[in-house]
Symmetry: C2
Subunit: 214 residues, 2 copies
């Protein structure tokens, strides 16, 4: 089984590493990091750099595709090389997945038309124009399409998917090895839970909202 | 403020990326990935590769040090280049931190003597020979030393530390941007919660236990 993690300039590191850390523990899985061109790819803040071992043309039949998000999805949403690749590999994947605004790339490729899907809470409204039905759930399974909410949600998605592929006990084993027993020191991880003034401030600076308003 | 994330061969990706994803959002922070030699560094399963932008000799006065773990801590625990660097930078850090078996590197460098500390649950017993007092807590603050349990616990550590440095509201803002509202599909993330047979099986294959028994 081949798992392909898509990288592109200014992706968010945890979006990719969260599901990677769980799914790559599948017995017999080969995980490849793939980008338009092989080589180093910078994350959103430029500090972390991951290496894409392969170019898009070298990964043609992955079983699982993981598409991370980033704060500027509008760039890759107009990149024909990435959208064409997503459409091409989706024809034979077992699972096509995304974290955060990665779902907007899947949507822009036409893959979420008529599907329930999620995204980072700030970008959820951008799914509907592509025919997707946005939901506020953290992880959404619709057929072979699995979308997860913002950044850290890829951990929950990875474990959920692992359970469907390899069984509950396998997923629990990986959860225990990753000691995923979350104890966040605050309870501000969703717009429904965070202080209202923080939610409002973040909504005011969302780049896609700004662009739409201009 | 400079944040240095130590990389070394066969580190675990999420150990490094979890706290990076939250702490690197500090206003004015410069985050550097540092290794014995600059360049690509492979993770534990070889699939993910992160780039160390700087060598140890180029990072001499970081404010925060983050030491990730990996499944073979015994290798770096005997690496004088890494241990000497940890001791040298610790002299001027504001916070010296670790995730997972990263605490065993801090312990081997002599930095946790007389301190309360944690580690991956499978490796907790290896702290005491270095004078540290192991606790089963997920994140342990003892003075400027902050140690976190296995792999995913670095997310909780990062947010907790962010709160201490920049205030609760700042940390909550980052938590909301990362949408860290965990909903693991299983409740098997600690040895107290996971099915007993899974705990026993993992204890039986723990490489450090094997080594000790041989």
């Amino acid at each position: 089984m081949q798992i392909a993690v898509l990288l592109y300039d200014r992706f968010t590191a945890l979006d990719a590493i969260g599901p990677y850390e769980t799914l790559s523990r599948l017995d017999g899985a080969e995980t490849v990091f793939v980008a338009e061109r092989p080589g180093p790819v910078r994350t959103d803040n430029g500090a972390a750099v991951l290496v894409a071992g392969k170019g898009l043309d070298e990964v043609t039949r992955p079983d699982i595709v993981i598409v991370p998000g980033g704060p500027h999805p509008e760039i890759e949403m107009k990149n024909p090389a990435v959208l064409d690749w997503l459409r091409a590999v989706d024809a034979t994947t077992t699972w096509t997945t995304s974290v955060c605004t990665g779902s907007l790339l899947l949507a822009a490729a036409g893959l979420l038309d008529g599907r329930r899907a999620t995204s980072h809470w700030l970008y959820l409204d951008h799914l509907a124009p592509f025919g997707a039905e946005p939901t506020g759930e953290r992880v959404v399974f619709d057929g072979k399409y699995v979308t997860a909410a913002g950044v850290s949600s890829g951990l929950d998605m990875g474990l959920g998917l692992l359970g469907r592929i390899a069984g509950d006990q396998y997923a629990q084993t990986v959860q225990l090895m990753c000691e995923y027993d979350p104890q966040p020191p605050y309870d501000a991880g969703s717009p429904a839970k965070a202080p209202a003034e923080i939610v409002a401030r973040l909504r005011a600076v969302n780049p896609l909202t700004e662009r739409d308003a201009s």
